[in-house]
Each structure stands twice: as structure tokens, then as C-alpha cells.
Amino acid sequence: MSAWSYTILVTVLLLNLLLAVTSRLSVLIRGFAIQAACIAVLALLLDGFNSPHAWIVAGGVFTLKVVLIPYFLNRAVVRTNARRELEPLVSYGTSLLLASLGVLLAFALAARLPMEARRAGLLLAAAAFATMLTGLLLLVTRSKALTEVVGYLVLENGIFLFGLTLLNRMPLMVEMGILLDVFVGVFVMGIVVYNIHRTFDHIDVGALTSLKEEEP
């Protein structure tokens, strides 16, 4: 693994912390897009620039996650007029602390993986776990539907990063399947966000509590 790869992985880890602490939706989306771009480059770096497999995967990631999805998300931000996440369920400081703990757990876990999975190095597996945990953290602690969407996307970044440790083994079809999954998922959530906005005049998923079954 080259020094460039290490730099990129450290960037991914730092971006995780940024995602955990930011309150601006536009920064959140940009952070996610940069992270996805890092991953696309990493796919090329790890697999060599002359492998068509890596080019297809990196191209797919770039088109979807760096260009298309951020574009749609930004449009949604403008449309729903929700620029900031004002009411997180835990404070930003706590979020940062939790995300850091997640990084620790990720390293501890990566060190225990079988050697085969660490072929590409300890840091890659650790970054993958940390990214997944950050995604989950976003999902759990934020209340705006748009932040939730970004949470899913970050979670998927982590899964994809983990997939990179096995890039040669993971068939192209599976990679493409995951990408398609994400795309469809975001598409559906986009519609949901729009409808929540239209119905409740805001995009706070807490309003979905009213869908709960009544107490008997």
C-alpha cells in the first residue's frame, strides 16, 4: 500500500469526524461527496490503474455518489429550505465523542480480523468499520430526514470500503448491485423526504411517530 493510500484513508477517517460534528446540511453533503471521491480514487490505487474492473467500479462510484446524489440532495435542501440540523437528539460534542469511540472500536476490531481480510492493511479495515459506525451514528442521532439519507449513504461508503479489502474477489455484479441498491434507496427516500415536507411542512422524521399503533 502506497503512502497515497494511507493519506486517503486518514482523510476518510477525518471526514467521519467532520460528518459527526457538522450542523450544516450543505457541509454534510459535501463531506459525504468528498469521502466518496476518496473511495473511488482508493479503488483505483489499490487495484492498479490498468485494471478495467477497478475503472468500472470507481467510475460508477464517482458518477453516482460524487455527482448525482449530492446534486439531488442539494436540490432537496434548497427545495425544503432546511439548511441546518437544529435539533440533534444528542449534542454535537457527544456526537464527536461517540464517533471517536467508534474509531477506537473499529481499530480494535480490525486488528482481530483474519489476515485474509487485512490483505490491504489494518488501516483500510479500520476506516471501513469507522465509516459504518459513523453512518449509523448519524442515523440514530439526527432528526431531519435529509440527514438520515446522508447517514445511509455514509454507512454504504463504509460497506463499500470494506468491499475494497476484497476487491479482486468481490464480483463486479455484487458491486454494481450495491450501487444500484443505494441509488434506488436514495431515490425512494428523496420521494419520502419530499412528501414528509409537503405533509408536515418540515422534514422532521419525529412526526412519523403518529404512524405508531395506538396504545390499547
Partner: protein
């Protein structure tokens, strides 16, 4: 064509029919016709295959690899499967035809078409159950059967009581399926595979063997409706449309009997204790079933309790067969097992017939309550006649089929009691009066049901306005009624359907000497008695006609005992008919009675109402539900309705798992 292809073509044809039915959408009449057609084709295909196997005595098996783990696509047919396959597919045809008429007035709806698809899926999965030779395949087919029948039961989902009854059925059937999965798991662990060939060779004896048997008993018993696992049966049958009740009661619950028999065949040499268990459980179901049947006012619930009773009789025969087998009395075992298997067929026939005619009467009268019927015989002669034939058959009276199978079971009991020694002989000796008691009570019950519903004067406007139903519904009654008579009058031939299976269950490899005097001789005598009875009836009818010739016959109303204004409600009711029989048992059955006795010299109002709650409900079902509700209240706070909370559970579980992985 080879029998394997024919047999597997039958479910394939039914599934194709199901697809077509769904595709027909709102044209549900056409969907019903498709179901009738696909059931008929499947009956011809499967019937031909089964007859081939029964005739040649050559079982077949077919195995192929499957992508599912621990599973293989294994099918096979022996005498037992052949009998059950023919039984399922042939009885599905009149049920489909009857349903085609029964659902006609519901008008075209996509839900009705879907219901027809579920009907065909149910029949197909029952066929797969008896053909499967692999544990996973068996469980899949079993599950298909349970789910399809659930959707059939919930046909009238607009009514809240139908929804709750169907839910009880769904839960009960899945508890049974869980027991079966555990059974296959335990057995498969011993055998190293879930293929029936492997299971066959590897039945563990001792305690593990008993656990496997008890799991099979609970799982198959709950499908068969054996007490105390019968809770769902009196709820699901009245809730379902009548053709579905007929198919479920006549055919589907027999899959539980098939399962028990299959397990016994696979174990090779079942211990004697199983025989006692089955005989005891059968006796409990038979007596309990008929007593609670006697207490019912709802005609379909009454018939459902009779299913519990008849499954009890079948299981008694099976238990007696096992006892005789383990005591070395092979002839006795074959007699009892033949009776048991033949009763499977017979109950399928007469119970279908009773559900067809009882359902038609209930639909025409607009009520299932016996106390609001009456006088239907004169308004619906075919339906009434069909119910009468079914009632005579289910009461095991000659010349119909119930008599033959119960006679075989009786001869098994007597043979075992006389030839054998020790405890098995004593158990069979006790079984004789039990079966006699059941027969007597069944007779009382059907005298009540037929007398109250079909004779006398109509007790409600609905009953007075009854009209005979369409040919779609009467023809299946005629068909099954004729089949009841045919099995009863042609028993020496009908016995060939079940003889191979009974011999295998009795552990006899060589052919049983049916032509010898001890086997078929009495059977011919029994059948001759039936023919003689028929001749006598014909003679008496002829004599009546001869005597009345040339005389005018007038019909007058019954003498009203001098009352000034008699009403049809003064007739004997179903409750009053059953009361003298049930009153001595009040301590046992614990009815809730509402009485208002007539008082004074000029009594004004008096009333009597009885309600018999099922003891299994009271002792097992209700406490279980209450316990479950308490547990549910404990975990209820987990349901926050907040997306984040649910995701937090996922995150916490994940972190806990990862931490566990890191720390250990």
C-alpha cells in the same frame, strides 16, 4: 407414462391453474371454473399414478440435488402416499365444484379469484406433502398448506370474528409447524441428513426417540385436530366458506394423520408406548369431540367437533394397530389399521357431504344457528337427502361407508382383546365400550341436527324462504353421497386402496391373505347385510305404495295439543334435545346456563340458554394468551414509533456483537 411424472404433473397443473385464476382478476366465476378444471385434471393424473402404484405394488422414488442447504428434491410414492394422493386429489374436485356454486352470489371480485388460487395452492401443497421424501421439502409443502388454508379461512375478512378465528388458526398451525421443524432437526441430527432414506435408517431409540415422537404427536396432532390440540378447529371451520370447510375438515386435517403414519413407517419398529399414547389421545378426542358436538347450536361448529371425534376414532385405530403389532398379533394389526385408513377416506367423504349440505342449508336460510332452521327438507329435498345420507354414514350405520371402517376397527379391538394378553389386551378391551359410547352419542347428535334443521316447521323467515341450490352445489353432494354408498356396499374392493399401506404399517412384508376366511369373509357378510337392508327398504317402500294405491292421501298439520295459537317456536329445540344427555355431565363440561324458570300459576316469561366453552380454550388457550399479553406489555415500550430508536437498537446490537468479538 411413468407414475413419477404423472404424480408430479398433478401439483404442477394445480399451480398453473392458480396462476391463471389470479390472472383472471375480477372474473372470479371463470377463476372458479379454472379451479374445477385444474382439480379434475390433477385428479386424473394423480389418480392414475396412485392406481398404478397400488396395482403393481412397486413404490418409486426420485431424487435430485437442490440449491437449498441440507435439502434435496426427493419425491417418492409407496402404498401410503398413493392412497393419500388419490384421496386428496379426488376429493378436491367436488369441493371446487361446490365452491364454484357457493361463491357465485358473491359477485366478481379479485379477492374471490385470489381465493381460488389459494384453493389450488392448498391442494397442490397437500399433494406435495404426501409425495415429499425430504424433511425440508416436507416442511415447505406443509407451510404452503398452512398459509394457503389461512387465506381461505379469512375469505370473509370483513367480519371481525372471522379475522380473530383465522388468527387463532394461523398461530395454532405455526406452533404445530414449529414442533415439526424441531422434530426433523432432532431426528436429522441423528441421521446426518434430512432425507427420508437417511431418517429411516437412523431412528434413535430411548429418550430421544420419545421426544421425537412427542414432537411429531404435537405437530401432526395439532393439524389433525386431536384433543387437546384441536383449539383452532371449531373456530376455523365455521369461519371459512363451506367448500373450504369441507376440504379442510375432510382432507387437510388428514395430513396430520398421514404425518403420524409416515413417522411410524420411518421408525421401523415403534415402541409399544406410542400405541398406548395414540389410543388414549384418540379416545379422549373421540369422546370429547362428540360430547361438545352435542352441545353446539351452530351447524358448522357441530360438524367441526365431529371432525375432532372422527380423527379420534382414526387415531384409536392407529394406536390399536401399533399395540397389536408390538404384541405380535399381525392379523389384528392389519384389521385395525385398515379400519383406520379406510375411516380416513370415509370421513373425507361423509364430512365433505355434510359440509356441502349443511353449508347449503345455512346459506339458504341465512343463518348457521340450528334453532332458527327447520323444515328445510321439504324446501331443499336434494340438500336434505344429502345431509341425511351423510348423517347415517357418520353415525356408522349400514349400508354406508362409516359402518365398514368402524366395523374393521371394532374387529381389531375385539381380536386384540381376545387373542392378546396383559396390558395391551386390556387397553383394547377398554377401547370397545369407548367406541360404542361415541357411536351412540354421534347418533343422538345427528338425530338432533337433522331433526331440528331439516324436519318440522321453519323457525325463522329465512328458513321458510329456502330454495334448492344450483346444480354446481347439488352435483358434488350427489357424487360424494354415491361414493359413501359405493364404499359401504363395495367394501371388499375399496379395501384394496388401503391394504398396502395398512400392511406396511403393520410391519408385514408379505401380502396379507385378504381372500382367506379370516380376512375378507366377514367383510363380504357385512356388505351383504348392507345390500339386504337396501332391499328391505325398497320392499317396504314398494309395499307402502301398493297399499296406498287407489286411495287419496291428504297432508294435515300436526295436532297442536289444543293450543289456541301454536307457533313453530314451540317445536323441540336443539338445546332441549341435547339437554337430557348433557345434564348429567354438567360437572364435567361446566356449561354456562342462563335460566329463567316459569313462576306462579300464570307464568309470564321463561327462558333457557346454554353455552359450552371448550375446556381446551379454558385450560390452555386463554391462560397462554393472557401470559403472552403480559409479556407483550413488558416489551411494548420498545415500540417508540421513532425511526431513530429502531436504528439505535440495530446499532446497539451491532456494537454489542462487535465488542463481544473484540473482547473474546
Amino acid at each position: 407414462m411413468n407414475p413419477a411424472t404423472l404424480a408430479l404433473a398433478a401439483p404442477a397443473c394445480l399451480l398453473l391453474g392458480a396462476l391463471v385464476s389470479v390472472a383472471l382478476g375480477r372474473r372470479s366465476g371463470a377463476a372458479g371454473t379454472v379451479a374445477v378444471a385444474s382439480c379434475s385434471i390433477a385428479a386424473v393424473l394423480g389418480g392414475a399414478s396412485a392406481i398404478e402404484v397400488l396395482r403393481t405394488g412397486m413404490p418409486w422414488g426420485w431424487t435430485s440435488a437442490w440449491s437449498l442447504p441440507w435439502a434435496s428434491l426427493s419425491f417418492g410414492m409407496d402404498g401410503l402416499s398413493a392412497f393419500f394422493l388419490a384421496f386428496i386429489l379426488v376429493l378436491a374436485v367436488p369441493a371446487a365444484a361446490y365452491g364454484r356454486g357457493y361463491l357465485a352470489h358473491h359477485g366478481g371480485s379479485a379477492w374471490t379469484s385470489a381465493s381460488w388460487a389459494f384453493f389450488q395452492i392448498l391442494v397442490a401443497s397437500m399433494a406435495m406433502v404426501v409425495l415429499a421424501r425430504d424433511g425440508v421439502l416436507f416442511l415447505l409443502a406443509w407451510e404452503g398448506m398452512s398459509v394457503a388454508s389461512f387465506f381461505l379461512v379469512i375469505y370473509d375478512h370483513g367480519k371481525p370474528e372471522v379475522r380473530s378465528d383465522a388468527l387463532v388458526y394461523l398461530v395454532a398451525t405455526h406452533l404445530g409447524a414449529a414442533a415439526l421443524a424441531a422434530m426433523f432437526g432432532l431426528w436429522g441430527r441423528e441421521a446426518g441428513s434430512l432425507n427420508f432414506h437417511a431418517l429411516d435408517a437412523a431412528f434413535p431409540g430411548g429418550k430421544v426417540g420419545w421426544v421425537i415422537f412427542l414432537l411429531a404427536f404435537a405437530g401432526f396432532g395439532s393439524k389433525a385436530g386431536l384433543a387437546p390440540f384441536h383449539i383452532w378447529l371449531p373456530k376455523a371451520h365455521p369461519a371459512a366458506p363451506s367448500h373450504v370447510s369441507a376440504l379442510m375438515s375432510g382432507v387437510m386435517i388428514k395430513m396430520g394423520v398421514y404425518g403420524l403414519m409416515r413417522v411410524i413407517l420411518l421408525t421401523g419398529n415403534p415402541p409399544r408406548g406410542w400405541g398406548y399414547t395414540l389410543l388414549g389421545a384418540g379416545a379422549l378426542s373421540a369422546v370429547g369431540g362428540v360430547l361438545y358436538a352435542l352441545a353446539q347450536h351452530d351447524i358448522k361448529r357441530l360438524l367441526a367437533y365431529h371432525s375432532v371425534e372422527n380423527v379420534g376414532i382414526i387415531t384409536m385405530g392407529l394406536g390399536a394397530g401399533l399395540l397389536a403389532r408390538t404384541s405380535g398379533m399381525e392379523t389384528v394389526a392389519v384389521l385395525a389399521l385398515c379400519g383406520s385408513l379406510l375411516h380416513v377416506l370415509n370421513h373425507g367423504l361423509f364430512k365433505s357431504l355434510l359440509f356441502y349440505s349443511g353449508g347449503a342449508a345455512a346459506q339458504a336460510a341465512g343463518t348457521r344457528d340450528l334453532e332458527r332452521m327447520g323444515g328445510i327438507m321439504r324446501r331443499m329435498p336434494v340438500t336434505g337427502g344429502a345431509f341425511l345420507v351423510g348423517a347415517v354414514a357418520i353415525c356408522a350405520l349400514p349400508p354406508f361407508n362409516g359402518f365398514v371402517s368402524e366395523w374393521l376397527i371394532y374387529s381389531g379391538f375385539f381380536g386384540g382383546a381376545i387373542q392378546g394378553a396383559g396390558a395391551p389386551s386390556a387397553a383394547l378391551f377398554v377401547a370397545i365400550p369407548v367406541l360404542a359410547l361415541v357411536g351412540g352419542l354421534a347418533l343422538a347428535c345427528f338425530a338432533k341436527a337433522f331433526g331440528v334443521a331439516f324436519l318440522g316447521e321453519p323457525r325463522s323467515e329465512g328458513a321458510a324462504a329456502c330454495r334448492e341450490v344450483s346444480a354446481w352445489m347439488t352435483l358434488p353432494m350427489v357424487f360424494t353421497g354415491a361414493a359413501c354408498a359405493a364404499v359401504g356396499l363395495g367394501a371388499p374392493w375399496a379395501i384394496r386402496l388401503v391394504a398396502p399401506a395398512a400392511q406396511a404399517l403393520a410391519g408385514i412384508r408379505a401380502s396379507f391373505p385378504w381372500e382367506a376366511p379370516d380376512g375378507s369373509g366377514p367383510l363380504y357378510a357385512v356388505v351383504l347385510a348392507g345390500w339386504a337392508l337396501l332391499a328391505l327398504v325398497a320392499l317396504l317402500l314398494g309395499a307402502r305404495r301398493l297399499l296406498l294405491r287407489g286411495k287419496t292421501v291428504t297432508v294435515e298439520p300436526t295436532w297442536g295439543c289444543g293450543y289456541a295459537a301454536p307457533t313453530p317456536r314451540m317445536q323441540y329445540t336443539a338445546s332441549s334435545f341435547a339437554q337430557p344427555l348433557l345434564a348429567p355431565l354438567a360437572r364435567l363440561m361446566r356449561p354456562s346456563l342462563k335460566k329463567r324458570r316459569p313462576k306462579g300459576l300464570f307464568p309470564e316469561k321463561a327462558s333457557y340458554a346454554s353455552h359450552y366453552e371448550d375446556p381446551a380454550d379454558r385450560a390452555i388457550f386463554d391462560p397462554a394468551v393472557r401470559l403472552f399479553e403480559r409479556l407483550a406489555t413488558v416489551v411494548r415500550p420498545l415500540q417508540q414509533g421513532r425511526l431513530q430508536a429502531y436504528l439505535l437498537y440495530v446499532l446497539l446490537a451491532l456494537v454489542a456483537l462487535l465488542a463481544w468479538e473484540v473482547l473474546t
